[in-house]
């Protein structure tokens, strides 16, 4: 007899429906065939399923059994099909009376003893299924927290194959998981490193606030041990809390990449990714045989931190330009072509020279100016131009670390940032962008709203510091953010004047050594 169950297969971060068909044709020789483009892990499920069936009080049919995963031309990977295969076989051999399965999604891997164990990518699968009108899902209990904020779906966590079958056949139904509101999830947000723990560094903290408020990329230049990394780590705590939409986007990518820790729920903390400078372009942008997401996508809605930027191979840095600009990483590989969201803030840090102490008042620099220039030239002009905010971080003298009063808390800064982001959200309604950093020339013309004297001052600054045209538009964006932080409708001369300080490194380091 023929039976059919429903499963979903992961394709990038999208789920595709897969019908699992089982047919037991009888006969006098044991044979179990699996067709429909299964990979090694899927093929092995034959052995897992037959052991799990026997250990759960069912039998594996003697004779010829065929399992087909359709559509047969879609590649199937991983262990997510075990549960649906087992249930289909039970149905096909009439070990229980027939129960309706068309509207229920079955996800889960089987252990040999019949336990249902967690799988990767549950959230993207459920979201895709939900979008296609599937209303019920049976999944491993350890995967259940991941889906606890999905609305419009009944979620049935199970521990074993036996429990799943008992539920499906109606002999011992279990209750759907109680879904949480997104607000409840936010409550378990872990506190990031707090800004009040960073001593002094007022200029850098201010830059961090402006960068967070407008979603601007940022470069910190400073001597070793000046707190660049610490400042960067404060950034997630200063950024607005994730919206539910953002949390779904980010969790989906992590779930698909298999990076979500088992048993954890929706990601409500903004990601903070710190790829090492030996990372390849594929690791950053995405790649591998199956075009997995790279660091830039794992940092989606969060922060991509490049420590010691000049140490990264130039090719890797140049490859970052496109995904950062477009907010989407296109990954093409032999087996797949994928598109992953990559709307993140890039924060980079670097020393001012090879020895690290150029410009320091604490220790003398040992580098000649040609050595410094060679070091700085590892960052290309076009890449530098794409970094809206550049700030120098100077080492804090010891006495300041001990005496300085506690600075402002991240929470207070975050509230200002959120207010500025709210203004931007309203301003950009219907334009497809979310923050000032994403404005293109057309947006700027429409939204910059710059007073005349501010415009004149900007022209003057461009000439004085010999800035490029690209720097010009970056200045307008940053000025807009500064005005938003002050809740001003117009960009004033003062806002421009402050924004200019965030481009000074260009002229100071790259300018005078050239």
């Amino acid at each position: 007899m023929l039976a059919r169950t429903l499963c979903y297969a992961l394709n990038g971060i999208e789920g595709e429906p897969v019908a699992v068909e089982a047919y037991a044709s009888g006969g006098d020789q044991y044979q179990f065939a699996m067709v429909g483009l299964p990979d090694a892990a899927v093929k092995e499920s034959r052995d897992r399923v037959s052991a799990a069936l026997k250990n759960s009080g069912f039998t594996m049919p003697y004779g010829h059994t065929t399992v087909n995963l359709s559509p047969a031309d879609l590649k199937k990977e991983g262990t997510v099909f075990d549960l649906s295969i087992a249930v289909a076989i039970i149905q096909a051999t009439r070990q229980l009376k027939a129960f309706g399965l068309d509207d229920t999604l079955l996800l889960g891997e089987l252990a040999l003893d019949g336990r249902v164990i967690p799988v990767q990518g549950v959230l993207p699968l459920i979201i895709s299924a939900n979008a296609r009108g599937i209303k019920k899902v049976v999944l491993p209990s350890l995967n259940a927290p991941e889906a606890d904020t999905v609305t419009g779906m009944e979620i049935y966590p199970v521990h074993s194959l036996y429990e799943a079958v008992q539920h499906l056949s109606g002999q011992m139904p279990i209750l759907p998981q109680l879904q949480k509101s997104y607000q409840e999830c936010l409550a378990r947000t872990a506190p990031a490193l707090d800004l009040s723990q960073v001593c002094g560094q007022h200029a850098a903290k201010r830059a961090l606030e402006v960068a967070a408020a407008g979603g601007h990329n940022m470069l910190m230049v400073g001597v070793p041990g000046s707190g660049k990394t610490m400042l960067a780590r404060c950034l997630p705590g200063v950024l607005p809390l994730m919206t539910q939409e953002e949390a779904f986007e980010t969790t989906r990518i992590y779930s698909a990449a298999g990076l979500l820790p088992t048993g954890s729920g929706l990601m409500t903390n903004r990601p903070f990714r710190t790829p090492h400078h030996t990372a390849s372009a594929a690791a950053l942008i995405g790649g591998g045989a199956n075009a997995r997401p790279g660091e830039v996508s794992l940092a989606h809605n969060g922060v991509l931190f490049l420590d010691e930027m000049p140490e990264y191979p130039r090719r890797v840095l140049e490859a970052l330009r496109q995904p950062l600009e477009d907010g989407v990483a296109n990954v093409s590989r032999v087996k797949a072509h994928m598109q992953y969201l990559s709307r993140c803030m890039m924060v980079a840090s670097m020393n001012p020279c090879p020895c690290g102490y150029y410009g320091s008042r604490i220790r003398a620099c040992r580098c000649g100016s040609h050595e410094i220039r060679k070091y700085l030239d590892r960052i290309s002009g076009p890449l530098l131009d794409r970094i809206d905010i550049q700030v120098e971080v100077d080492a804090v003298p010891i006495e300041e670390i001990t005496r300085s009063p506690q600075g402002e808390k991240s929470e207070a800064v975050r509230l200002r940032v959120e207010a500025a982001r709210d203004i931007q959200q309203k301003r950009f309604e219907g334009t497809g962008i979310r923050c000032n950093a994403q404005m293109n020339n057309k947006h700027m013309e429409k939204f910059a709203n710059m007073l005349d004297d501010a415009e004149q001052f900007l022209q003057m600054a461009i000439r004085k510091y010999a800035l490029s045209m690209r720097a010009y538009s970056r200045l307008i964006k940053v000025s807009r953010t500064i005005a938003d932080l002050k809740m001003q409708e117009h960009i004033t001369l003062k806002d421009v004047a402050e924004a200019v300080q965030f481009r000074m490194i260009d002229a100071k380091y790259w300018g005078n050594t050239r």
Binding site: A203, G359, Q501
Partner: protein, 366 residues
């Protein structure tokens, strides 16, 4: 355009392994380069040694026109000791090169010439002073000579160019092997601006370490005075100063902070009797060259501060004694970082203050 004898001198100059001694013996024996070329044979082996003999023989086979063609192709000219445009001062020294290869313009007398030499790993202070003094000297008609190396040399050449004066770079390599490569554009600029890039080595000679001490005698030989800016222990600049002293040139040194490694050598020379130099005017005065435009050297007119806001005025004043960090200026004037950023930009655009690497600010003086 070269005489036979001159071409023969070029032939000798093209040999890198011909020593000064070997050359003297050759001249004693044959009398002139021309005769040596004509009578080139087995006798020469005893005079110049195996290596130079082999090299000169190979060059001899290519013929004089071959070497002339190389010079013409590379746009290089040669000047000889008896020529009118051979530098007069250089001609006075005992081991003056018979032939100098150059691009640009050679003059018999650089009426006033000063060499500026110093560390290749300079500090900001040294770089700024080298640039400023070279610029001011150039504006007063002084030719600035240096070695086209990184650091102080580069700053000196750039300063002279900025002052619109003549500057000469003496290389420790051939003219087709300009070293460091990064300074090739600078060399071109020097030539275009009416200066010269010169070398006694054949065009394809590599920048080998032992070329530079020998080169240094030409640097000091070309000038009336040598200014030393920043040099560490065991610096090559000490050799130049040594040459300058034997050649009877004046030696100037620029003082620096006593605890900086680059101050060690200049300060020692100062204690041993070098002249103290704090600005171009010191050199002009000591050399007896009246400063043509004395007012250029005078401290600038006080900046116009009347239209500054009280806050900007107080920021400006807080920098009057010493350089200060952003944090210091902020707490001294009780400002928020955002406001201070804005004020700093306005003061910078006015040209009243400037910022240094490390977020340090200083009052701008001309």
């Amino acid at each position: 355009m070269y005489t036979f004898d001159q071409l023969a001198l070029i032939w000798l100059a093209f040999s890198e392994s011909l020593t000064f001694k070997g050359r003297e013996r050759l001249m004693d024996h044959f009398g002139t380069a021309q005769k040596a070329f004509n009578a080139w044979g087995s006798k020469a082996y005893d005079l110049v040694g195996p290596k130079a003999c082999e090299e000169l023989t190979a060059l001899h086979k290519r013929g004089l026109s071959g070497m002339q063609a190389i010079l013409e192709q590379s746009d290089i000219q040669a000047v000889f000791r008896e020529d009118d445009n051979y530098p007069m001062l250089l001609n006075e020294i005992t081991d003056a090169p018979e032939v100098l290869f150059y691009r640009g313009a050679m003059e018999k007398a650089d009426e006033r010439a000063v060499a500026i030499i110093g560390s290749r790993r300079e500090t900001r202070y040294g770089r700024e002073q080298a640039f400023k003094i070279a610029r001011d000297l150039a504006q007063n008609g002084v030719t600035v000579v240096s070695g086209l190396a990184y650091g102080i040399d580069t700053a000196a050449h750039l300063g002279a160019l900025d002052g619109g004066g003549r500057t000469i770079a003496v290389l420790g390599s051939g003219l087709n092997r300009i070293y460091p490569k990064d300074n090739i554009p600078l060399a071109d600029k020097i030539i275009r601006s009416g200066g010269a890039v010169i070398s006694e080595l054949p065009p394809e000679s590599e920048p080998l370490a032992y070329h530079f001490p020998v080169r240094n005698r030409i640097v000091s030989g070309l000038v009336h005075g040598v200014l030393l800016i920043e040099a560490r222990e065991k610096s090559g600049t000490m050799i130049t100063v040594g040459h300058a002293l034997t050649q009877g040139r004046d030696v100037f040194a620029l003082p620096g902070p006593v605890d900086a490694p680059g101050s060690v050598v200049p300060h020692r020379f100062l204690r041993e009797g070098a002249r103290l130099c704090t600005c171009a005017n010191d050199i002009l005065e000591d050399m007896g060259w009246q400063s043509r435009e004395m007012q250029m050297m005078m401290p600038g007119v006080a900046a116009d501060l009347d239209d500054l806001t009280p806050v900007q005025r107080s920021i400006y004043d807080s920098l009057s004694d010493e350089v200060r960090s952003f944090e210091d200026v902020m707490s001294l004037n009780d400002l928020s970082p955002g406001d201070l950023n804005a004020h700093i930009t306005m003061l910078e655009i006015r040209g009243l203050i400037e910022s240094l690497p490390g977020r340090i600010y200083r009052m701008k003086r001309n």
